[in-house]
Symmetry: C2
Subunit: 202 residues, 2 copies
């Protein structure tokens, strides 16, 4: 592709590194920025550098934060006897946005994936297991993705936690709200029938 | 939407201002940046600020450049007797990428649009019309979008240029290469039949 100048080409190369942005979108973004006010472009650049420099992981749950302890771990309104284990900060946000959970979280930073060479030692398990004898946790909610890697990780955690005698739950699986039965995949539908629940509890 | 920190929220707000990027994509980009090396984030920020600060319009054709005269106007290999008039730098890039044009360009920076209150005085027409008596231009190619505004602008330019006795052409219109006749819109198809061309010249 031809670029009007080396400067634009450099910017396009940098922008293309962002997820979900190809060369055409990057060029569109670059040309859009050129039309903006100098201050707006500077403030975009400053905001991402500042975010990167000042963000860190919560010392308690590994969630991303700009303070020592994240706003969830630091809140007095949270039920600290329920701990939800998730893969990533994105999953914390997704669950928070439902408004259905009032416990605390623990962010693993990934899942066990033998195919990608990620074993238990590569994840934040130690800090997790250290929590149990000392803290007053009564329930662990496993909220990992329903994939082979997610299930492997859930199984690993559940085995390790069993010795502490803590109740272990996992997010419900089944057909999605609003989906059309006809198009639901066989495994999900089969499991939904096999693991059917009381209509009353639905 | 909940954000892990104010810093991330600020960055998401800035990123959302970019074209084609909604809140979800912006958050995905922000979390992606947090996982990257400090240098990579700094270099993204630097590249966009530098591009914005050092880019200017070519004094000859208004194309975006980082030198006084853009690489097209400054090239000795270009046929300077053909001038292609386009709306935007994006259109210069699109035509350059075809490899089918070896003349020079003139970037208007917009089209006449009565609906949006853009009249001839808001566009770079003066510099364009000053070119004709002095420069050795033999053909003007009107390459504006085939919309009402584009056609209005083409008509305006053609009327103004007529007095200089320069040949005026416009990019060919018709059915798109690879399109299915059945789905071509009626106006285009009707015009393609009405303005049919010799098979030999096809």
């Amino acid at each position: 592709m031809n670029y009007p100048s080396k400067l634009i080409e450099d910017a396009v190369v940098e922008i293309t590194r962002l997820p979900g942005i190809g060369k055409k979108s990057a060029l569109r973004i670059a040309l859009h920025l050129l039309k903006q006010n100098d201050n707006l472009v500077q403030s975009l650049a400053d905001s991402i550098v500042k975010m990167k420099q000042l963000s860190k992981n919560c010392s308690c749950c590994n969630n991303i934060t700009d303070t020592e302890i994240c706003y969830i771990c630091g809140s007095n309104l949270r039920n600290k006897s329920i701990l939800c284990i998730v893969e990533d900060t994105k999953d914390v946000l997704a669950i928070e946005n439902t408004g259905q959970y009032n416990g605390i979280y623990y962010v693993l930073g990934g899942v066990i994936s033998p195919v990608n060479g990620i074993g238990p030692s590569d994840l934040n398990f130690e800090k997790l297991f250290l929590k149990f004898p000392s803290q007053d946790i009564k329930e662990i909610v496993l909220a990992l993705s329903p994939t082979i890697d997610g299930d492997t990780t859930s199984y690993y955690i559940s085995k390790k936690i069993k010795e502490f005698g803590i109740k272990i739950t996992t997010i419900a699986r089944g057909i999605q709200v609003g989906s059309d039965l006809e198009y639901v995949d066989e495994v999900t539908l089969g499991r939904s029938i096999h693991k059917r629940i009381d209509f009353e509890s639905f």
